[in-house]
Structure formats: structure tokens, C-alpha cells
Symmetry: C2
Subunit: 339 residues, 2 copies
């Protein structure tokens, strides 16, 4: 099970998150307790708003990666893996709260976004609170190296969000520019989530770099598949609406590829719908038709496979173990969920 | 000069920030360099937006307190005071960016607020970036205790902002409730700014607590005088408009006192103008008349003096020095600027 099997040799649809879920379940129970205990405040609105998002059924993939990385690197106390994983999840939650304000999103994980219930103002401030709490938990681990990795990630994520904001209404965004955006806004946290395990275990530099690379490539693959899913029927099963990115005028890789491969009429379509936001009822269907015509969804998933392969190979230097296999399965799962 | 002179024995208007400015000028030059070097990014909008606020003529009182505290506590290398002070200023700047979004403010320090030029979205994200950079600078000092103090402050500040948001349109906010808000949203950062100096110098606990108390009480006094200034002609000299708090419906101590001391007609006035926001051209003048009628501005400044006295006395355990005197002068200056 732990052997790295190239995707095309492997039966599709078999990859599962279950091994990782099973191997981290005890730790993740403790992470959940840590999350709940740090989402409290004597200020009523904070646990209400934070709880709305925390209990909304996220996969908690990032903290699971942290816990698995810590354990695979030989940490045998319970404090560091749990604190670091909870901190990673809080950084993610804070980002989601601010993202929804910036994107003016109505829904998050199939439920009304926090800002629709408590307002933009509270979402901004509770995001700030959760980020502060994330740093408090990191401090409790006593690892300056983990603080360095995660504070660096906090800056890079925000940089990526600003980059995305600038590109949001620009249909001529290149694939290279887009890859820089997702490397920062999504992959930086996955990368830090994985790297801190090796860092807190004080493993040799090459292992820390391997975990960093694993996380970063997994993050890129994850985001690309998310982009593809946004235009796929599978999306509805994940508690999201098909076409959220389209409605929000987000220029993602499927659109970038379709725009570049399309003719003048199609380019005008993308510009009008995404840059100018002039959307009617049937435009999403038309968009999906153009994406399919140019194989843009498949090409996006193919790109994701490339990063998935890099993520798997990054783990090659670690000895065989059930945890390592479960992380490889998680990479495959992230990509295969598109089918 | 270093002797603690009660305000009423001291000639008014003599307190000056100059000694503190002089004694910290070399360090603050380095802090400025540190700030500029961490406000950069390959993402163009970040240095533009951050620079707008960083160069807008803030007093940099908080980082000056950090530098003075570090030096008074005997730190003789240059790294920690400069990094910590720059981190404190970035935390403050991030808070201002988010505050202006939350308060929908048009102006900041007499210039258009960043959100009026670059938008709310960019202000939220660049605030996040600066907070990330603040933590990166703290990590560079290598002091887990400073990270503990400042990450705790980050959470408490956000809690205070949420509390204020809930109280914003509530004219029946009590003085006690209001004091809790400013203790969190303003005093927590002053307190941390002062405490980190003793912490990084590894001074005995009683000195760290003394610096914490100095900063906290200075912060409360500073905020109360700010609240009073908002209804005073002196405000215009400070690059702000008179009545900003009034227009934004902020329930501050002068209003709380005037509301409680007023009759039913006056209470209805405050409710209509601040809770419901039904303001006409002459309402600010009427508000100031009510505040004067009840001596609410003077009472607010009197409360500030109380905290100023506590701040001065907190420093009593430190031996006499030019730096100590300059910090005491700074307390007096913060209060006397109202005249």
C-alpha cells in the first residue's frame, strides 16, 4: 500500500482519505478540543461566529497533515502536534473569514458565510482574533522554528490574496502568474502545515525540506482540483454550488486555459462575463461548454497530477510506514475527488 | 526632572514629548529602516498601501515606548529593541487598516483612509500581511516570552474591537463596559509595547509587571484623552476632524457621562444621533453644548489623569534615569495635549 504507484497504473477512484483519517483520529480528537478551547472568549460574538465556521464540516486536511508529519518525524509527546495542528487550522479559518469578506461570498461550505449572519465587520475582527489565538498556540509549543515557518506563511498567504485581488478582474492573467498566486494563497499554508512536523521534531534539514515540498505540491494540486471542481457537477456533492468562481469573476486555471485556447468571440465572452460581470442565466452553461470544448478542465486536472506526483516523490526519503502511505493516499484522494 | 510631580502641582502645558524623542532618536531611525524594509513586497499594492499609512505622520508613540523600555531595562544590543518596536508599530498599523474598514472611516490622520484609495478588500489583506510581518520580526528576536506577550495582545485587541462593535450603537453602554473595551482595544498594545522591553532583558518579574502596568495605564489615559479631543477644537491641530466619533456613532466616555447626567430630552438626543444616526448640520454643536453643560469632557480628562498617575507610579521601582523621566514626561504630554 505504501509503494508509490503512478496514477495511470492505479485503478481510479480507489484513493481514499480513510487511512489518514484512521491514523490521525486520536490526535485529531485532541486537536478538536484544542480548537474549541481557543475559540472561546468572554466576548459572546466570538465563539458564536468562530463556531459557525469551525463546525461547518471542513475536512481539516491541513491540521491532519501537521499531525501526520509530526508523528512520521517521530514526535511522541502530545503537546506539539496538537497545538501546531490547531494553530494551522485557525490560520486557515481566519483566512476563510477574511476571504469571504474580500470576495463578497454568500456561502461557505454550503451554509451562509459568517459575514451574511454577523456582518463583514465582525468577520474581519474575529478573523484577527483567531490569528492571534493561532500565534498563542504556536508560542505554547516553544518552537521558534515553527513560529518562523508559520509567521512566514501568514505573510505569504496575505501576499497571495492581494495578488489574486489584483488579478481577479483580469482575464489576461497568465498561467505563470496564476501559479504564483496559488503557490502563495493556498500552497504556503499546506507547506507550513507539513514542514512544522519535521521542524518541531528537529529532523535534518533535508527531511524538513522534503516535508515542505510535500505540503507545497499537495497544496497546489489541491487548489487546481478545487478550481476544476468549481465547474463540475461533482461540486454539489461537496456542499458548494457549481460556478461560484464564475459568479465572483475569479480567473482560475480552467478559464485561463480556455481563454487562451479560444477564438476572439470566446475571449470576448470571458471578458464580458468575468471582467465586466455581465452575467445572465445561461452564461454558466455556456462557460462550461467552452471549457469542455478546449479540454480545459482535464488539462487543469492533468496539471494537478504533475504536482501530486512531486508531492509523492518528496516523501521518498522517508522510510516506509503506514503514515507515509496514508499521506500518499491523501494526495491521490485530493486529485481523484474530481471524478 | 525625574521626580514624580502630581499634575496639579505642575505648571500646565510644560510636559513635552521632546526628551523621549531625543533619547530614542537613534533607535527610532533604525526602527524606521526596519519598518520600511518589512513593508516591501514583490506585490506592488502592498508597499503602496502600507507606505501611505506608515508615512502619514503618526507619532510612533508605541514603538518609542518599546525602545525606551528595552534601553531602560539594560538591553545594549540593537537587534531586539528595533525588531520589537517595528513589530509593535506593524501590529498598530494592521489594526488601523482593519479599524478603518470596520468603522467605514473616510479619513485617517487628516488624509484619505487607505480603504478610500485602495478599497476595503486591499485594506483587510494588507493588514493581514503586516500582522504576519510583525510576527516574523518578533521571531527574529528569538524571544519566546516577547512572542507570548505580543500574540496575547493581538488576541485581546481583536476581542476589544469586537466588544466595541457590539457597543457601538448602544448609548446605554456603561462606564465600566467602556473601560473594558479600551483596556482591550487600546491599552493592551501599549501594555505589551512596554512589557516586552523588560521581558527581552530578562528582568525580574516585578519589573516586567511594572512595565506592563505603566504601558496599560498610559494606554487608557491616552485613549480617554483621544475621546475628549474628538469633541475639542484642539483636534483640528492634530490632523483630525472634530466630531469623527460622533459621526461614526461611537459611544465614548464623554458621551456616556453626558447621557447619564442628562435629562430625558438629552438622552433622546444622544439615542437619535448615535444609535439611529439621524444627524443634521448643527447636531455636533448641540452635542458639544451638552457635553460642556455636564462637564463631561473635563470629567473624561480627570479620569485620564487618574490612569496617568498610576502609569507614573508604576515606574517608581526603577532607579532614576533620563529615560525614566522622559517616559513620565510622555505620560504628562499625552494628557496635557488636550489643553
Amino acid at each position: 500500500m505504501g509503494v508509490v504507484i503512478p496514477m495511470d497504473e492505479k485503478e481510479r477512484g480507489k484513493a481514499s482519505l480513510q487511512p489518514l483519517l484512521d491514523l490521525t483520529s486520536t490526535d485529531m480528537g485532541a486537536v478538536n478540543g484544542e480548537i474549541l478551547s481557543h475559540a472561546t472568549s468572554h466576548v459572546e460574538m466570538i465563539p458564536e461566529l468562530a463556531g459557525h465556521l469551525i463546525n461547518s464540516g471542513g475536512k481539516r486536511l491541513r491540521p491532519m497533515v501537521t499531525v501526520a508529519s509530526c508523528r512520521m518525524c517521530g514526535i511522541d509527546d502530545d503537546l506539539a502536534p496538537v497545538k501546531l495542528a490547531a494553530a494551522v487550522e485557525f490560520m486557515h479559518t481566519a483566512t476563510l473569514l477574511h476571504d469571504d469578506v474580500v470576495d463578497e461570498s454568500d456561502l461557505r461550505r454550503g451554509k451562509p458565510a459568517a459575514r451574511m449572519i454577523w456582518g463583514n465587520q465582525a468577520s474581519v475582527l474575529v478573523g484577527d482574533y483567531l490569528l492571534g489565538q493561532a500565534f498563542r498556540m504556536m508560542v505554547e509549543t516553544g518552537s521558534l522554528e515553527c513560529l518562523r515557518i508559520l509567521s512566514n506563511a501568514a505573510s505569504v498567504i496575505a501576499e497571495g490574496e492581494v495578488l489574486q485581488l489584483a488579478a481577479q478582474k483580469d482575464i489576461t492573467t497568465t498561467e505563470d502568474a496564476y501559479m504564483k498566486i496559488i503557490d502563495a494563497k493556498t500552497a504556503a499554508l499546506f507547506s507550513a502545515a507539513a514542514e512544522v512536523g519535521a521542524a518541531v521534531a528537529e529532523r535534518p534539514r533535508e527531511e524538513q525540506e522534503a516535508m515542505e515540498s510535500f505540503g507545497r505540491n499537495l497544496g497546489v494540486a489541491f487548489q487546481l482540483v478545487d478550481d476544476a471542481l468549481d465547474y463540475s457537477g461533482k461540486q454539489a456533492e461537496l456542499g458548494k454550488e457549481v460556478g461560484d468562481d464564475f459568479r465572483e469573476g475569479k480567473v482560475t486555471l480552467p478559464v485561463i486555459l480556455s481563454y487562451r485556447r479560444g477564438d476572439a468571440v470566446q475571449r470576448e465572452f470571458w471578458s464580458e462575463k468575468l471582467e465586466k460581470g455581465l452575467q445572465g442565466d445561461t452564461d454558466l452553461l455556456q462557460a462550461i461548454r467552452y471549457l469542455e470544448e478546449h479540454g480545459a478542465i482535464d488539462a487543469t486536472v492533468e496539471r494537478a497530477r504533475h504536482y501530486g506526483a512531486k508531492a509523492r516523490d518528496a516523501l521518498a526519503i522517508f522510510p516506509q510506514s503506514a503514515l507515509k502511505s496514508s499521506l500518499i493516499d491523501a494526495v491521490d484522494f485530493c486529485i481523484e475527488r474530481v471524478h
